[in-house]
Amino acid sequence: MDYEEAKDLVVAGLTKKLKNKSKFYFNDLAKLIGEKPRAAKKYVNQMVVEGVLEYWSSGSTSMYGLCGTGKQAGAEHEE
């Protein structure tokens, strides 16, 4: 799989669920991409660098979301 293909899968998968929630665990992304975690991580890292995905951290756990989506940004006054 090439990067663009992985990106399309992730963007499509997350957009579909956006109505319910905007933050996802890494394993959710790996499943969308359909690769083992270590291979999926390379694509995910690249999506963060390109500004497709952004992190959300509870301090103890990390999640991923499509950049700028979700209610957290408003709640955190960081819009």
């Binding site: 301090g59 103890s60 979700g70 408003g74 709640a75």
Partner: protein
């Protein structure tokens, strides 16, 4: 307050970006006596509380003076530490895992002037800045978490109860009278980002009320599925509520399933759980991490709840003092608090420490609970 750029360009964050360089390499910071003798140390001795000498097979000696540090520390204070290290230690120092500061010198004649300097420095309010101690069979510094200074889910403060407790245990910070070392730790909520669960005495903040639900704002500020998923005991479910005649999406909490961890509040600011009377302190005792003589063991809950009594938490400090005194009077040389409690029996522990045993102290949380009940006819009257 004009903004001054470091050189970072927010439009091109990746330009000249340096990443993944890790920490500074440890050996840049070794004082010469350490660099020269690493791996060659023969033995050590505690000359007096807070003062150690390590002797190398090369004949070199390093004298360490250990002083208390507050984990919460200003740069003004760090600069004063640097000034001391420049004056006495050629510009080197280290911190211990338990937030102490270690000043090292390479000859004995440098020790007394260093101690005098450290002990002479006081804050304007009257407390010592750098009391020397924290070694051997005594009480060392309390490791702790953030508390009210910075955390969003604490059930108690951290720095305040630590200050109050160490004031009460101060003599034992500067002495070696106990049967063995006694490690006190504090975590300000049950998530224990400071792992206190293997301490001789642990002070643990605990909430006792489920979150308050800010129904009117909940769906606006939070993503409900994330709040539900955050709950480790599956106590949260979606619900519809009516506020001022309007039907709103919100959540409902099954109160009897709530373990008061605050994970939902982390995900959803409309579910705060802090409460002035609900929150307080649990005291745990008898844990250790060392493999010495007996295996490492967990601390046990010995007081289910004490109120938050800011600013000095007198019930908490008095309970801890009683435990320390009972241990000091009863334990054998080298015996840790948990080993002492096991030898005399926990029934005797509660008697000696004058602590009431309540039903809260009998484990009823999941499978391991059974293994803590007594399955023998042997017990003490």
């Amino acid at each position: 307050m004009a903004f001054i750029s470091s050189g970072y360009n927010p439009d091109k964050p990746m330009t000249d970006r340096i990443t993944d360089i890790g920490p500074r390499k440890y050996d840049e910071f070794y004082p010469p006596v350490i660099a020269n003798n690493k791996g060659k140390w023969l033995y050590h001795e505690i000359l007096k509380p807070g003062v150690l000498v390590h002797v190398s097979e090369s004949g070199d000696e390093v004298y360490t003076v250990r002083a208390a540090g507050c984990r919460l520390m200003s740069i003004t204070h760090i600069r004063e530490i640097c000034e001391i290290a420049d004056k006495h230690c050629d510009g080197y120092l280290r911190f211990t895992t338990r937030n102490n500061i270690e000043f090292m010198v390479d000859s004995k004649d440098k020790v007394d002037p260093l101690i005098q300097d450290l002990e002479s420095r006081k804050f304007d309010g009257g407390s010592f800045k750098f009391p020397v101690g924290g070694t051997g069979a005594g009480v060392t510094n309390i490791i702790h978490t953030q508390g009210w200074i910075h955390c969003h889910t604490p059930a108690t403060d951290a720095s305040g109860p630590v200050k109050a407790t160490m004031d009460v245990l101060f003599d034992d910070f500067k002495d070696h009278r106990l049967p063995a070392q006694l490690r006190v730790s504090l975590a300000c909520c049950l998530n224990m980002c400071g792992a206190v669960h293997c301490s001789d005495i642990a002070i643990l903040g605990y909430h006792r009320k489920p979150p308050i639900l800010d129904h009117e704002y909940l769906d606006k500020m939070c993503e409900i599925p994330l709040a539900i998923a955050a709950c480790p005991t599956a106590a949260i479910k979606p619900s519809k509520v009516e506020v001022d005649g309007k039907k709103l999406n919100s959540v409902a909490v099954k109160n009897e399933r709530c373990m008061f961890c605050g994970n939902c509040y982390t995900m959803c600011p409309s579910m705060p759980l802090a409460d002035d009377v609900g929150d307080g302190i649990v005291i745990m005792a008898g844990g250790k991490v060392s493999n010495r003589i007996s295996a490492p063991k967990f601390s046990k809950v010995v007081v289910a709840f004490l109120p938050n009594e800011a600013p000095r938490w007198p019930s908490t400090t008095a309970t801890i003092k009683r435990i320390v005194e009972a241990y000091s009077a009863g334990a054998n040389k080298y015996e840790r608090l948990g080993d002492w409690a096991e030898r005399i029996g926990w029934e005797r522990f509660f008697e000696k420490c004058e602590i009431d045993f309540t039903h809260h102290l009998i484990d009823d949380f999941r499978d391991p609970a059974y293994f803590t009940w007594r399955q023998t006819s042997q017990f003490k009257f």
